[in-house]
């Protein structure tokens, strides 16, 4: 039992922070619901970070450290699927990125589908794959801070079963990636808000002096710490129950954090110009992914008290 990062892991985390930190600068005008992360994406690729989980001496934990840090950035980059899900759930497959992940529901919006090279579909009893680089993708104009595209029946029809891949394993690592992305975006939203309540003054004092503000931010802190701890644990143990617990805690934390961080920004928080939405509208998008909180807690129940999840 050791909760400290090894010295190699600390060095790695710092290197990621430095790289991602270069992309934390906000444009002078935020005119879109999300900021495309092409620059960060190519820097990550150049540094070889997308292959982190397959690198010598590294594994899921290093990937989680990466995904969390990338998710803290204001730009939206497809990271969870490429850096965590594919290498851990489909280690023997070469799958070109960016990778979009979806459930087999025709008509549903899928994160990162526009611009994706591959699409992986959880079709219940099997995993299907589609080369979407040459398919026609309908982008969705959404306020939720990712590029979304519609999963059409045509795309589903063009997909093929990916043999010898465990559906359970894919779900497990999707949950870890989901939890980690929520933790990253949640941390940035919370940090921004903590600073805001220290600076913003009303009634002759910083609003962060009010106990109701303090307590609710403290509760968010606890929820986020819980989710983060369990995401790290799920990465280290590679256990499906741990992954479901991490995703449960993260979806709960994300929901609470987006409500509270907006609340404490008052009207400023609902504007396009103020950057809070870059993270909170990701949290809102992630809140319902993979069926949402009840699906994750239901998975915890199945994995803890039954023989596992039913397809």
């Amino acid at each position: 039992m050791d909760f400290d990062l090894s010295s190699d892991q600390s060095v790695l985390a710092e290197a990621i922070d430095n790289l991602v930190g270069r992309h934390h600068t906000l444009p002078s005008v935020i005119a879109a619901h999300y900021l495309p992360g092409d620059g960060l994406d190519s820097d990550l690729a150049q540094a070889g970070f997308f292959d982190i989980a397959r690198s010598e001496g590294m594994s899921a934990l290093e990937a989680v450290l990466l995904v969390e840090r990338v998710a803290r950035a204001p730009v939206a980059v497809e990271i969870g699927a490429s850096a965590l899900v594919v290498p851990l759930a489909l280690p023997d497959h070469e799958i070109s990125r960016p990778v979009a992940l979806a459930d087999a529901r025709a008509g549903s919006p899928v994160r990162f589908l526009p611009g994706a090279s591959s699409l992986l579909v959880d079709a219940g009893s099997e995993i299907r794959i589609a080369d979407v680089s040459r398919l026609n993708i309908e982008p969705i104009s959404s306020t939720f801070a990712y590029p979304f595209g519609t999963l059409t029946s045509a795309i589903l029809d063009a997909s093929e079963p990916l043999g010898d891949v465990s559906v359970e394993l894919l779900r497990q690592w999707r949950r870890v990636a989901l939890a980690t992305e929520i933790c990253g975006a949640g941390k940035s939203a919370l940090d921004l808000t903590v600073q805001y309540v220290k600076d913003r003054r009303q009634f002759g004092r910083p609003i962060g002096e009010f106990q109701s503000v303090q307590h609710r931010l403290a509760e968010c802190t606890m929820l986020l710490a819980s989710a983060r701890m369990m995401a790290l644990r799920a990465a280290l143990t590679g256990n499906s129950l741990d992954a479901a617990e991490a995703a449960s805690l993260a979806q709960e934390a994300g929901t609470r954090i987006h409500h509270e961080t907006h609340q404490f920004h008052g009207a400023m928080g609902i504007t396009m110009e103020y950057p809070l939405h870059l993270w909170t509208y990701r949290l809102k998008a992630l809140q319902g992914e993979m069926g949402g909180l009840v699906a994750q807690t239901g998975a915890v129940a199945a994995l803890r008290w039954d023989d596992g999840e039913q397809p």
């Binding site: 039992m1 050791d2 400290d4 106990q211 303090q214 931010l217 403290a218 606890m222 280290l236 807690t297």
Partner: protein, 381 residues
């Protein structure tokens, strides 16, 4: 980073389980009702703790010079988890192990250490903590019990409230004011419960048989040697104790056992296929696990010799939340068992939630500490 237990940790846990299996009677649940404060449990602890001592399992994390095994703090935590999950057969002697002993080593005089360390090690000595007073709860620095110096003695007058185990404890570690205001002028004393002028009244309550008491000190004369630490140094000692105490009881260990048991009962009656029920159980389980790992992270800091931090309060608040999720699950889906009280584990698992957000510091106080010390938010004016 590594979340695996070492082989030593696993073996240690196995030994504890073995000792529990051999020494807890078949009717343990019925007799103890999983109540730390019951007469049965406290008496049982006076037989059981000497067995733990003999097996080297009472104070495994204490240094060898003091009769411990010199094992790391994770062993202490594993000990706590196994005992709490079993329904705490040590009764309040867990306090000796968790904070009285360590505080004694740090602040006690040589004579005090020589007197009390062997008593704690014998496994037949129960302490109580005399901090709270009628007008000093969350605001402990408002305490008014006085200790006046009279030559080489002190005269103590005042009263304590909510004192756990006071009616069967042997000794009290208590706070009194020797002068000054607020945090200044608080001094710690070690007073035998049988000492003239000390009177105890049990307060009937919903948590446990003898969980809370009033303790009255009327013209209690104590020699200066019973003072613990320097005069007016009480607040420093209190801070030290609270840090040991607040991440001291792995309450989730019992809550998780209760939850497993609750699910078994629901399954037996075919009520565990309902998705709402399953989701609620899964939610409670995830929250308990999070509490567990947040607590272990604090133990990790302890093992590495780092000073206590606001993480302690995060764990405490997480504990409040996860215990409540378990209790609400019981109340919603096992209401019959709960009301009839026949199932001891369900009853106890539910009952103890009544104090999780209050004992050893109210939940709101924990949130204040997180806001101030972790988020660095401004102090209220």
């Amino acid at each position: 980073m590594d979340f695996n237990w070492t082989r030593e940790h696993d073996a240690f846990r196995a030994r504890l389980r073995d000792v529990l299996k051999r020494h807890l009677p078949d009717d343990w649940a019925e007799q103890s009702r999983y109540d730390t404060s019951s007469e049965y449990t406290s008496k049982f602890s006076r037989k059981f703790c000497p067995i733990l001592a003999q097996e080297g399992l009472l104070i495994p994390h204490w240094p060898k010079e003091l009769g411990g095994e010199g094992l790391d703090g994770f062993h202490h935590w594993i000990l706590g988890e196994e005992m709490v999950a079993a329904g705490e057969p040590r009764s309040y002697q867990y306090m000796s192990v968790n904070w009285v002993g360590p505080t004694m080593m740090r602040y006690g005089t040589k004579a005090q250490q020589e007197e009390f360390i062997p008593k704690i090690k014998s496994g037949n000595f129960i302490w109580c903590q005399g901090f709270s007073e009628p007008d000093a709860g969350s605001d402990l620095a408002a305490l008014r019990t006085r200790a006046e110096r009279r030559g080489d003695r002190y005269l103590i007058n005042g009263s304590k409230i909510w004192t756990s185990g006071a009616s069967f404890a042997d000794h009290c570690l208590m706070l009194a004011r020797t002068g000054g205001e607020r945090r200044e002028g608080i001094t710690v004393f070690l007073v035998p419960m049988k000492h003239p002028g000390v009177e105890v009244r049990v307060i009937p309550n919903y948590i446990g048989e003898r969980t809370v008491h009033e303790v009255f000190f009327t013209e209690v004369e104590v020699p200066a040697e019973w003072r613990f630490g320097d005069e007016s140094n009480g607040w420093e000692i209190v801070t030290y104790i609270l840090h040991q105490e607040r991440v001291g009881i792995p309450r989730y260990a019992f809550s998780m056992r209760v939850l497993d048991h609750a699910v078994e009962l629901l399954k037996k009656r075919g009520a565990f296929s309902d998705s709402a029920v399953r989701a609620r159980a899964g939610h409670a389980r995830a929250a308990c696990e999070a509490t567990r790992y947040l607590a272990l992270d604090v133990i990790n800091d302890r093992v590495k010799g780092r000073p206590p931090s606001a993480k302690t309060s995060i764990v405490r608040y997480s504990q409040v939340r996860s215990d409540r999720l378990v209790a609400d699950f019981l109340a919603d889906y096992l209401a019959d068992e709960l009301v009839s009280g026949q199932d001891r584990m369900i009853a106890s698992g539910y009952k103890r939630t009544g104090s999780v957000g209050i004992a050893s510091g109210a939940a709101e106080v924990q949130l204040d500490l997180i806001a101030r010390n972790h988020l660095d938010l401004p102090r209220r004016r």
